[in-house]
């Protein structure tokens, strides 16, 4: 019987892979019966990349430049990519995260043309002083929109409290002041350094074949870039910057966020990443006694949750949500973590959490968007879905108990409270 699920997972997660001469990795999941195609073209360059050397020259970047670049990559001297996607009917978008930037489209027809647009725009940067100034206004508006989101402010408030030098403490979009420092030269240096095929992955899922994608890559003929690049990383001390902070804004009810700064884990360490993911579930997931107590006492709403974040040089675990009594909820979380450390992990809860994580993994394989973005993520982490399923199957409660000795420590915690004005 055990072989059945392995066979099903292997079939559902089947990826065809090619590495081109220019260094670009192409991953394709052919999904019979699906009409749509989702393509993700990602570079390992995000908001935390703030300094690098290219061909011996040092570049220090203002906060928000990766996100700014994402906006500008939709333009070249012939116009903007949206106008070309409009001709094919594709739905296109782009996202910037802490450690990567992704350009995507979803389409049900004219896939070769859409791949051509995607590859040509992201491979052929075009920036002028005028187009940069115009974008500064638009992004300024975007930054302000996030300023009004309590969840966003809470999460970034925790990052800022936890990290002293790491770029995770800066808003992904930067600030109106920081993006004003961006010049065309900086943007070209970033694309030369990070938008090179060796640093990128093209992941496509749905009604598509590897051959179709490789043909598009051949037409795009993206050259490799060879000038040496070195990422420059700021030293980050182990301690947190501050243990507490408070924000006042227009919210109906207070919010509390409790974050823990952990020892950074290697991107390829699947087991450590799974431990980070399962820990918040074991502390206050929907099946835990703490969640039930908090809920029944009216101290949290159903969306109160915990999550882990791990990028190069930073790993942290956050808990948060709305509550009428922020300090009380924080104290109860800390008490529960101490109890788990003292008494150990409930074996039944551990098994249920593992089951749910396995279900998430399976669900992520049936959707073209999640399939393509999942393949890109796995590529940057150097693993496959089958690796993750195997690591999950092998995870034991003792592993988590061992990790808890050095994780979720109060001395590495910080609290952010948002109160109504």
């Amino acid at each position: 019987m055990a072989e059945n699920w392995k066979k099903s997972i292997a079939e559902a997660s089947c990826v065809r892979k090619a590495v081109l001469d220019n260094g670009l990795t192409v991953l394709v999941r052919e999904m019979p019966g699906f009409d749509g195609v989702h393509a993700v073209y990602s570079t390992k360059f995000g908001s935390i990349d703030r300094a690098f050397e290219l061909d011996g020259r040092r570049w220090d970047l203002p906060a928000g430049i990766a996100h700014f670049l994402e906006h500008k990559m939709f333009e070249n001297e012939d116009g903007d990519a949206f106008a070309l996607y409009a001709k094919t009917g594709a739905n296109a978008n782009a996202y910037t995260g802490f450690d990567r930037t992704s350009y995507v489209f979803t389409a049900t027809s004219r896939v070769p043309e859409n791949l051509d647009i995607l590859l040509s725009f992201v491979s052929r940067p075009y920036f002028t002083k005028e187009t940069i100034e115009k974008e500064q206004g638009i992004i300024g508006q975007e930054i302000k929109m996030y300023d009004d989101s309590p969840e966003w402010r809470l999460v970034f408030g925790i990052y800022q409290n936890l990290y002293q030098n790491h770029g995770i403490g800066e808003d992904i979009a930067g600030s109106t002041q920081s993006i004003a420092e961006i010049t065309p030269e900086m943007l070209y240096a970033c694309t030369d350094a990070f938008y090179r095929p060796q640093n990128m992955v093209l992941a496509v899922a749905g009604n598509v074949t590897l051959e179709m994608v490789l043909d598009a890559c051949a037409r795009a003929d993206v050259p490799s870039r060879t000038a040496p690049v070195k990422r420059l990383v700021c030293e980050e001390p182990a301690g947190v910057k501050t243990h507490e902070s408070e924000i006042r804004m227009a919210v109906a009810k207070p919010l509390v966020g409790l974050g823990f700064k952990e020892t950074p884990i290697a991107e390829t360490d699947i087991r450590a990443a799974l431990i980070c993911d399962i820990l918040p579930e074991l502390v206050c997931g929907g099946t835990t006694p703490l969640y039930r107590r908090l809920y029944d006492e009216g101290l949290i709403s159903p969306d109160f949750s915990g999550e882990a974040l791990s990028v190069a040089g930073a790993t942290c675990i956050l808990f948060g949500g709305e509550t009428p009594e922020p300090e009380k909820v924080r104290d109860m979380l800390l008490e529960e973590i101490a109890r788990l450390r003292r008494e150990g992990i409930d074996r039944e809860l551990f098994r249920l959490c593992k089951n749910a994580m396995y279900g998430d993994l399976v669900r992520g394989l049936e959707n073209i968007e999640e399939s393509a973005s999942g393949m890109a993520s796995m590529f940057f982490r150097g693993c496959t879905v089958e690796d993750e399923a195997a690591a999950l199957a092998a995870l034991r409660p003792e592993d988590v108990e061992e990790a808890l000795r050095t994780m979720l420590l109060e001395e590495h915690a910080s609290t952010v409270i948002i109160r109504p004005v």
Binding site: G36, A86, A90, A252, T287, G298, A356, E366
Partner: protein
């Protein structure tokens, strides 16, 4: 795509072929005309029902049962479709072939969905008072916290003014000042009335239809039912524009403009209104996106969407407080230019292509297939996405002009910093 059969008076079962998916889904929709007097109890009902049911009354035990089924999800929601209220119960989970120990998962999903929908936990014949009290507090906080999401809040405030006095305006989430009067007795009455008077739409996507059918019929075997006729589609009559400004401590302002269609959309115009809304503000090359956002930098977002079930056009945008008046003028200018001016063949064909591409992928997710089928059933049309795609291909610029010509601005709602509330 869909196969719908009547299995009892006012009860239909729709099955959708779903072999390509790794998950399956069972859903039950209860639909009936929304009632103002029971709106708050009707809003509380799904929150209490989601906690547990007769065979698994405890909330934590239910969470554990779902986790054991590899994180199957149970959602109980309520929402409005025009003047009708819908309560939906859905369970989605992975297919049996992925079960680590060969368990039969699909039958369990149906049991949980149908148990939640038809046999709630009613100790002493009523909902548990303690659970009701806890969930009342959750609903209270949901209602009080509405302002946290400024974009949604602005649209809701605009719609409150737009649908004032109409059943379409009955609040899906109920009323804060009436929450105290809801108790286990009124909630149980609301549940019984829902079972008695609703039209019931059951969906089995990738789940065994025969099992679901048998379980539904068994659940209803001893129930007296009198399904109500659903409320017809209606839109507010055109009126002089009403303008409202609300002061809020936020960095960015929000502007929502609602235009009434004046009445139901004729079926032959349903494709045209979709094309018109997309041309105006539904794509990244739409008039509002290109001219108001990109060229004039007046908003960060500026989108238009058409609602067919309570026919109106909603344009909402994020604006700098000092730019709100200019943004509004620019939006009205674009609407007027689209309504009266030329639409190039290229613009029309590209917009249609974007809509066709989106419709072409409806069949790529269980949720989108179910949503499509449900809304088609609600409209009484039961079209496949391919039918609409064909109709969209035939829409002309004259059709767009004609349907836009029926729109008139009824409500403008501005959420902004530093202004006085007025209306």
């Amino acid at each position: 795509m869909m196969n719908r059969t009547t299995i009892a008076p006012g009860v239909s079962l729709t099955t959708v072929e779903a072999d390509k998916f790794n998950t399956c889904r069972v859903s039950i929709y209860f639909v009936r005309p929304a009632k103002r007097e029971t709106a708050t109890a009707d809003a509380l009902l799904p929150i209490v029902m989601e906690r547990g049911y007769a065979d698994c009354p405890d909330m934590t035990e239910l969470s554990k049962r779902l986790s054991r089924l590899y994180g199957a999800s149970l959602r109980v929601d309520t929402f409005k479709v025009g003047a009708n209220r819908v309560l939906s119960v859905s369970v989605t989970g992975i297919k049996d072939k992925f079960a680590l120990e060969g368990e039969l998962l699909t039958a369990e999903y149906a049991k949980i969905a149908l148990g939640t929908a038809f046999t709630p936990y009613l100790p002493n014949g009523m909902f548990d008072p303690e659970c009701v009290a806890i969930e009342k507090q959750q609903l209270r906080e949901l209602l009080e916290g509405e302002i946290n999401e400024k974009r949604t809040y602005c649209i809701r405030q605009a719609k409150r003014k737009f649908f004032e006095g109409m059943p379409e305006g009955i609040e899906a989430n109920g009323y804060l000042d009436e929450l105290d009067s809801v108790d286990e007795k009124t909630l149980t009455e609301a549940f019984r009335e829902m079972i008695r008077s609703s039209r019931i739409e059951v969906f089995a996507l990738g789940a065994e239809a025969d099992v679901v059918r048998a379980q539904v019929l068994a659940a209803l075997a001893d129930t007296k039912r009198a399904p109500a006729h659903l409320a017809p589609i209606n839109a507010p009559a055109p009126c002089r524009e009403k303008s409202f400004t609300q002061n809020i401590d936020a960095v960015q302002g929000k502007l929502c403009m609602l235009f009434t269609y004046g009445g139901p959309v004729a079926e032959e115009d349903a494709a045209a209104v979709r094309v018109a809304a997309a041309l105006l503000g539904g794509t990244a090359t739409s008039r509002l996106f290109v001219n108001v956002r990109e060229k004039q930098s007046l908003c960060y977002y500026c989108a238009a969407a058409f609602q067919l079930v309570a026919p109106h056009l909603c344009i909402d945008s994020g604006v700098e407080p000092q730019n709100a008046a200019r943004a509004k003028a620019a939006i009205l200018h674009e609407l007027e230019a689209l309504r009266e001016g030329p639409i190039s063949d290229q613009e029309l064909s590209e917009t249609k292509r974007t809509l066709l591409s989106a419709l072409g992928s409806v069949g790529d997710s269980l949720h989108s297939m179910e949503t499509w089928c449900f809304h088609e059933i609600m409209r009484g049309t039961e079209k496949e996405p391919a039918d609409l795609m064909h109709e969209i291909a035939l829409v002309t610029a004259d059709d767009v002009h004609r349907v836009l010509g029926r729109l008139s601005l009824s409500v403008t709602y501005l959420l902004t910093k530093g202004a006085q509330e007025n209306g």
